[in-house]
């Protein structure tokens, strides 16, 4: 080991994310945030999820947020999931209004755009950013195909597939490849990105289409393939939260694998590679 040239152990930078990818990534962050928060404002106008072709088909909603007045005259927020009732005062069903008093609302104002109950404006935000989101998504997939980003960086390889179990164990122990081994995406990371890009995002968009009375009319009956309009609304909601779950895991992984290095690589493109020997030497000195 002592014969290794010291300069080769110095940290060095690689150009990890190309400019179009970086731009599209941050447009996506903006769009997804606005779509989620304006979507929750829209949801608040009818804070219940049903299954089937209509809301009034004899079945109870699978999720419902409401508020009731208790014996002291105080507002209590209630969330009902699959018939199980929870007191969610302050967050769901009833939360602080602009005058500092509890008011009836599904999701609280700090997670909705706009803050106050304002369906017309929430729809304006939602549909503008939905267009931007879809255009950005189409650009991303097209670019990824033609630049071979998809084939080179995202598609799993044979050795990836063989190492799935090992990768699961590593992730569970928060153990991640370092040095040059951290340059390619790992297999779970690839599967997560591919599922988001090719399953969850197309599904959430399609279920958005399913709620449009015009798009519904293009091929009569297509919405029923997904269980009907109200089921489509429910799937739209669930997939949105699955995407939020992805974002949380994604951000968590970004933080534990070197937050500044990862952030830099998504802003300037530069990703720093450190070897093990190098860092241990430095700490030893």
């Amino acid at each position: 080991m002592s014969t290794v040239n010291k300069s080769s152990l110095e940290p060095y930078f690689i150009y990890r994310h190309k400019l179009p990818i970086r731009i599209m990534h941050w447009i996506n962050v903006l769009c997804f945030t606005v779509l989620l928060m304006s979507g929750l404002n829209i949801f608040n106008s009818h804070a219940a999820l049903n299954l089937g072709k209509s809301s009034y088909n004899g079945y109870a909603p699978i999720l419902e947020m409401k508020s009731i007045q208790n014996s002291n005259g105080e507002l209590v927020g209630i969330t009902n999931i699959f018939g199980y009732q929870f007191d969610t005062t302050g967050v769901l069903g009833a939360s602080m209004g602009p005058e500092g008093k509890l008011i009836k609302r599904g999701f609280p104002s700090w997670i909705t755009i706009p803050g106050p109950k304002w369906l017309a404006m929430a729809r304006q935000w939602h549909f503008f950013f939905a267009w931007l989101f879809v255009i950005n998504g189409i650009c991303y997939v097209t670019y990824s195909l033609f630049s071979k980003h998809l084939q080179r960086d995202l598609l799993t390889t044979k050795s990836d597939r063989a190492s799935i179990w090992q990768s699961i164990k590593d992730h569970a122990r928060f153990k991640h490849p370092s040095g040059e081994a951290a340059i390619p995406y790992n297999v779970l990371q690839k599967i997560a990105y591919l599922s988001v890009i090719f399953i969850l995002l197309p599904l959430v968009i399609l279920m958005g289409f399913a709620m449009s009375p015009f798009l519904d009319s293009l091929i009569p009956g297509w919405v029923d393939l997904f269980g009907g309009r109200q089921t489509a609304r429910t799937i739209h909601f669930i997939v949105a939260w699955l995407l939020v779950t992805f974002v949380f895991i994604h951000v968590f992984e970004v933080i534990i694998t070197g937050v500044w290095n990862n952030l830099r690589s998504m802003i300037t493109g530069q990703y720093q590679i450190k070897t093990h020997i190098d860092t241990s030497h430095k700490e030893g000195e």
């Binding site: 928060m37 829209i42 949801f43 106008s45 009818h46 219940a48 049903n50 072709k53 209509s54 809301s55 009034y56 088909n57 004899g58 700090w110 755009i113 706009p114 803050g115 106050p116 304002w118 369906l119 017309a120 404006m121 729809r123 304006q124 935000w125 549909f127 503008f128 950013f129 939905a130 267009w131 709620m211 449009s212 009375p213 015009f214 798009l215 519904d216 009319s217 293009l218 009569p220 009956g221 919405v223 029923d224 309009r229 109200q230 609304r233």
Partner: protein, 257 residues
């Protein structure tokens, strides 16, 4: 260690602060003219895309009797508060008559019996409210194109405006109004409905007639229609956006999404 927790606390506050600023910023933007104009391009894009794909042809899904909602929900006004309307209702709308005028060759006034004598259509369709709920009901009425054939719209007529009986303000002022374009006006499923679920249209659902324009949301389905006018532009009408909710709360005139 203390240094680290301080830094963490600082970062957490920074994040919370930035979040609050962003939220306040979004609410400020929602109240600014220029930004809402930018946002509304989303709605216009959708409308133009929809009209490009299929303006008049595509048919809203029709359902079977088994899909019908047990009772059809009433939304918005369930009984117009004006004395004028209540007097008409008391007499089973025998004194009610619908004038169709504006940019037409042949303005006419039709009684309810005359409208019921026109060729009719029955359809079981879904009513999708902008709030998110849906109800399925069976409608019967006179297709609007039958009425248009009687009045013969002039070539400059681009919109059909519906003036309704229900006052939207507590003091009885500002009656409901809505409008559609000629693509929807001539669409096969667009009708002046006088029956719901095989019975006379109830007052809570818009008696004596309401509009059904099946490829759009609930607020376009004007209830308690008193007069229909064909116009070239929507600008001179009330707030200029073509409907009560469009003018008063900023809802999109095109409600196909």
């Amino acid at each position: 260690m203390a240094h680290q927790t301080d830094r963490r606390r600082f970062l957490a506050r920074l994040l919370a602060g930035a979040g609050t600023l962003a939220l306040v910023g979004c609410d400020k933007l929602s109240n600014s003219k220029w930004f809402t104009n930018v946002l509304s391009t989303g709605g216009s894009l959708s409308k133009n895309a929809h009209r490009l794909i299929s303006a008049r042809k595509s048919m809203a899904q029709e359902f079977s009797e088994a899909d019908m909602s047990p009772s059809f929900r009433s939304n918005g006004t369930s009984l117009p508060s004006s004395a004028e309307y209540q007097a008409l209702a008391k007499n089973d709308f025998k004194n009610w008559a619908l004038t169709i005028d504006g940019m037409v060759e042949n303005p006419i006034t039709l009684t309810l019996t005359q409208i019921q004598a026109l060729p009719s259509r029955t359809q079981i369709t879904r009513h999708d409210c902008v709030e998110g709920w849906s109800a399925i009901g069976k409608w019967a009425g006179a297709p609007l194109h039958e009425v248009l054939a009687l009045v013969k719209p002039l070539s400059q007529a681009h919109f059909v405006v519906f003036y309704c009986a229900d006052p939207m303000e507590d003091d009885g002022s500002q009656k409901y109004y809505e409008s559609i374009d000629m693509d929807d006006a001539y669409h096969a499923q667009t009708m002046l409905a006088y029956k719901l679920n095989d019975e006379t249209l109830p007052i809570k659902n818009g008696a004596p007639i309401r509009l059904r324009v099946e490829r759009q949301l609930g607020y376009k389905q004007a209830k308690y229609i008193m007069r229909i006018a064909l116009v070239e532009k929507l600008d001179p009408i009330e707030g200029g956006k073509g409907g009560y909710w469009e003018d008063s709360a900023g809802y999109e005139w095109y409600a196909g999404i």
